[in-house]
């Protein structure tokens, strides 16, 4: 079975925020919650790069490890999902998550943040696939519809890739070969500064 993965090619991302908008619209995400965001490093300076980031659906997910009420589960395809019915809004998943993925509807009204919300890889939640209840709580279950996450489908430069990890890394490997260097390959910028391709 495929292991679903996200990959962002920072050499391609143009910070258009289409993925963010697509996600918000497809899943009807309320104001204040961003399942996906675009972060720009060195904004306005030479060497500027942008990266679209959401839940990465980690192996050995830190959020799952720290949740005191054990709301997370991993699907056969490696997607990390959670149950909003069980969540007590303690915020621990946010403290543990390396990518700042978990979101809360309230900032904190006496420690009450509401139910945690995060990217589901467009795969809904524990409710029946494609049901109304599932859509209201978790958004569209595109995987159940045989489609991939809309953010990546919408990406005009194909910087954001989502899908079977093997296919995603094959595509990326091709790009790396054609560029002639491992984009972000560890040590290249340090060892061969300014040599370019």
């Amino acid at each position: 079975m495929a292991r679903m993965k996200f990959l962002v090619d920072a050499e391609r991302c143009i910070e258009c925020n289409a993925c963010v908008t697509a996600c918000k619209n497809e899943n009807e995400i309320p104001w204040g919650i961003n399942r996906r965001r675009v972060v720009t490093i060195n904004d306005g300076k030479p060497g500027e790069r942008s990266i679209s980031v959401a839940c990465m659906h980690c192996s050995d997910a830190p959020c799952m490890a720290v949740c005191p009420v054990d709301v997370f589960y991993e699907t056969d395809e490696g997607v990390v999902l959670h149950s909003k019915d069980l969540c007590i809004g303690c915020g621990y998943c946010f403290y543990a998550c390396p990518f700042g993925a978990p979101q809360f509807p309230q900032v904190g009204n006496f420690g009450s943040r509401g139910k945690m919300d995060k990217c589901t890889f467009c795969n809904g939640g524990p409710e029946t696939d494609k049901s109304d209840a599932e859509f209201k709580k978790y958004g569209r279950n595109r995987l159940a519809e045989g489609k991939l996450p809309l953010c990546a489908e919408m990406c005009s430069t194909k910087a954001l890739l989502a899908g079977d990890g093997d296919v995603v890394s094959d595509i990326y490997r091709e790009r790396v070969v054609s560029r002639g260097f491992g984009s972000g390959a560890w040590g290249w910028g340090r060892a061969y500064p300014g040599q370019g391709a």
Partner: protein
């Protein structure tokens, strides 16, 4: 006919005009030295600053430079910019989360469990070896007042809130290992959600209790010479018939008092930070999320240490020692108990017996 031929003439005249214009321009371009210069210099002059990006063209689909320095910095938590309102989201990778997870699920969980289990087994062992500490001279039947109403009220306010906070807090760390398998996910989640609410509100009762005991007992909790002797003799707890003199509070109780005060202060401050997440910015030079991680870790460590200590306190105040519970129960302790365990204090009280004690309503104790 005439219209057509007229039109043709028009076109021919226009064409000639255009040719002349073109020719003139061409001639001008060839012979005007100024213009010729402009054409050949699509490149900047030699003294211009070029190559500002170091050869990189951001956004090219095939980039020309490996950016590993950037990624190394990002891995170490360098913050970028975001266009969404939540500026905290500029952090791409926060590795502190991994450390937080490791500390919480590792040492805190493990050492907490060892501490709790260790204290319970120690007390069980102590009970088996030493048994209940009895009043050596037997109960006299006469009592003296040890704690006034306000003192007992403050103690129980603190005690009851602490127990509720401790149980609901322990549930957050250990519940999923012990309660969840028994109750099932839904019931456990419901209980934990209730526990969280209770924890958040009862915290204020705890803080109130903390302030009151600080005010009413601080004067009795400064160390005295007797405390060192008391400590050197192990409080007489390990030998029958040994009763080192003590004031109103013995050294053990004083240590407990200061642990509760300082620990309680730490718990209150970190607790308030957790109660209002990301709304209080401590000037600690940390990212907001790191402050929250710091607060949860401290909160858990202090709480576990205090819980372990308080278990011993509960033991000695109830099943561990004859006559001890009365002090906080009715407030009236047996005279012999007082003479054995708090001899200095007992002497002071019996001397000033006729006068009503400070802070106490005059109410005749049964023995008077």
């Amino acid at each position: 006919m005439t219209a057509i031929s007229g039109c043709r003439r028009w076109v021919a005249q226009l064409a000639i005009l255009a040719l002349i214009a073109l020719g003139t321009t061409f001639a001008l371009e060839i012979f005007d030295p100024q213009n010729a210069q402009a054409q050949s210099s699509v490149r900047p002059p030699a003294n211009a600053t070029t190559n500002v990006t170091g050869g990189t063209v951001p956004g090219m689909s095939r980039s020309s430079e490996s950016a590993s320095e950037i990624w190394r910095a990002v891995r170490k938590g360098v913050k970028g910019t975001v266009s969404i309102p939540d500026k905290k989201a500029g952090i791409l990778v926060q590795s502190e989360g991994d450390s937080w997870r490791a500390i919480r699920n590792g040492p805190i969980t493990n050492w907490g469990a060892i501490g709790l289990a260790g204290m319970v087994s120690l007390l069980a062992l102590f009970y088996l070896v030493r048994g209940k500490i009895l009043v050596d001279h037997g109960m006299s039947g006469r009592t003296i007042t040890r704690f006034a109403d306000i003192e007992r009220m403050a103690h129980w306010l603190l005690a009851v809130s602490f127990i509720i906070l401790a149980l609901t807090g322990l549930n957050i760390i250990y519940g999923k290992y012990f309660l969840l398998p028994i109750l099932g996910k839904s019931a456990f989640a419901a209980i934990s959600a209730g526990g969280k609410w209770l924890h958040n509100y009862v915290a204020f009762a705890f803080m109130a209790g903390l302030v009151i005991i600080l005010v009413i007992w601080i004067k009795d909790n400064f160390p005295t010479k007797a405390d060192f002797i008391w400590l050197a003799k192990g409080g007489g707890m390990f030998t029958r018939g040994v009763h080192p003199p003590a004031n109103k509070f013995n050294a053990g109780q004083k240590i407990l008092f200061w642990l509760v005060i300082w620990g309680g202060l730490g718990l209150s401050l970190t607790g308030i930070a957790l109660l209002f997440p990301f709304q209080i910015d401590f000037p600690a030079g940390m990212e907001p999320v790191q402050q929250m991680q710091f607060a949860t870790v401290w909160h858990a460590i202090i709480a576990l240490v205090l819980t372990v200590v308080v278990i011993a306190h509960i033991y000695i105040g109830t099943m561990g020692m004859e006559g001890a519970f009365d002090a906080m129960g009715s407030g009236e302790v047996d005279e012999n108990w007082a003479k054995e365990h708090h001899s200095i204090w007992a002497k002071e009280v019996s001397k000033s017996k006729s006068k009503p004690r400070r802070g106490r309503k005059t109410r005749a104790a049964p023995a008077e």
